[in-house]
Subunit: 361 residues, 2 copies
Amino acid sequence: MERKEVMKRLKNMGTEVVEELETGNSPSIEVPVRTLSNIKFNEELQQLELGASTSKRSFMNVGQSRKFMQTMLIAAWLEKDLVGKGLHTSLRDMYYALKRTIPGTKENTFEDQHSESDPIIVDLETSLGALREELHLNADVRGRVVGNVVIEDRGDTVNWAKLGSGGWSIPSNVEDITIKSVDAEYILLIEKNAAFERLHEDKFWKHENCILITSQGQAARGVRRLANRLSTEFKKPLYVFTDCDAYGWYIYSVIKWGSMNLAHVSDKLGTSQAKFLGLTMTDIEKYELEGYTIRAKDMDVKRAKELLEYPWFKNELWQTQIKLMIKKGYKAELEALSSKGLRFITKTYLPEKIQAREFLP
Amino acid sequence: MERKEVMKRLKNMGTEVVEELETGNSPSIEVPVRTLSNIKFNEELQQLELGASTSKRSFMNVGQSRKFMQTMLIAAWLEKDLVGKGLHTSLRDMYYALKRTIPGTKENTFEDQHSESDPIIVDLETSLGALREELHLNADVRGRVVGNVVIEDRGDTVNWAKLGSGGWSIPSNVEDITIKSVDAEYILLIEKNAAFERLHEDKFWKHENCILITSQGQAARGVRRLANRLSTEFKKPLYVFTDCDAYGWYIYSVIKWGSMNLAHVSDKLGTSQAKFLGLTMTDIEKYELEGYTIRAKDMDVKRAKELLEYPWFKNELWQTQIKLMIKKGYKAELEALSSKGLRFITKTYLPEKIQAREFLP
């Protein structure tokens, strides 16, 4: 979305409130409900999304007036001081920038970031239909990328194939990046940085003509959005490679279908055509990695049982894998493949799986 | 150190053991002692370092033979499969690559990474006098950098001034990077990524002609080594900018004087000419940030009292700051400066402090 459009929506929100005030009504805004009851899985689009329920936040309601004030304060600041000035910042900086004692009272605008100012940004994302990044609020930064891709960013032309061992640090906000050219067959998104470094050192992305991304754990918004943009704008398959445990599989789940917390932006942050490459429980048997597994803890089994119940994991292939984990009582890390030799992942495991298209949906 | 030299030292270790075996003696190796009793603060060099105590690890001693076997196994693998083949990997991958059941026994080479294989790498670093990176074992990767610096890395020429919003992702191992040119007055190393993004967006590094690094929390080895190389090889002052709390100050302490865990490599990972730029308790008063401080928890006060006792913090300026924190009972984050406006840090705080050379030692 263009900055102009974001500004217009912010302004409209304010104008409507002023108009209500002028007619003598209590001003209010409509905010989509974000509780579990209003989160649906859209089978057709293969993504989590918000239902139609909304709630009113009203100025003249004692229970809502503080939140209403905070929403207006943030929206006005976004319009005037952040988006309006072309600046970007973090949620924490925003909290500090807006925290103060309201003159003539002992009331502070905010007492706490996580319970007060953060949720209002999600409210604004949903009610304005604008990404947090489009509101110029940066998220955590984590993850890096290499491959035959040329981008333009802040006036610089950056070739991800020419960045040495480091690679390009994926920023928190990739909205304003122009992707100039993509010469790759597919995108490989890897949970673990160590595996990324192995593949990068072995020039896997050159030989296989692919883009390598590491999320370094749970994928930050920047990584998810970048994978989405590369995959949808350039029609490239996205393969996800995580540990064989409920945590790794959930990382995949968020990359593909979106997350419950951010169900309102699954279309931008989720990539529904993503496929799961590994590690699977079947891999462990096939490649004889049993000696390198880790005993599953109660927590792992509990999480696996939760995955079993998610509608998006309700297909035979995933149910088989998850049940197998619960039955065997073990999990495995990507690094277990190193027991076959450091280059096993580069020379055997990945080429074999990709060649055979041995993916989970 | 050249790869050839590392290979030679690894080979020598093996040759000595073989010679002892051939003369019928129990083979052994000398390993520097790394307990607190053997860690000293070198006033002159301004760095933590190991004392002269060593201990013998002997094959024919029942209490040491397992560790001796593990040391030999790792050293041989480093020589033959890792450094010898020009590959790099992580500690976790090494653990998996070397874990197996010894034929004819029920004994595994390793049962646990953190208590068994990891410490042996530190032993080898100390006894061989080679950095872990020179042994081709990568550490965690975290941190990014921008500025007028051109490097050569794996055949690519990378200009840190031309990398858009992302910047260059600092790899875990910066030993093999050739720094071609540095056009900067100083290096500014920032704990928080959000402040780095603010300064980068404001083109602070262009206007002030400096190099910006963010460690994103405690500085990873790659960040510490890169700061050391830039500062010592190119004679550039290094200024460190952290939160005003015991944790932030300890980040500075590790960057400048080294850490107790890695006292044997302080000369490579520490930068003794580093200066502390902020945040200080005095800053909080001067810039009227009291309303944006956070109450110190018991843990914060306990850590602050520990800092007071470290020999390297035993100077009047630091003692005053630490005592002030304990007395006032609060701490503050970098983001507190945003209460003065998002660009206060770029326009006022940093230029003023650097201009006035208002540093702590």
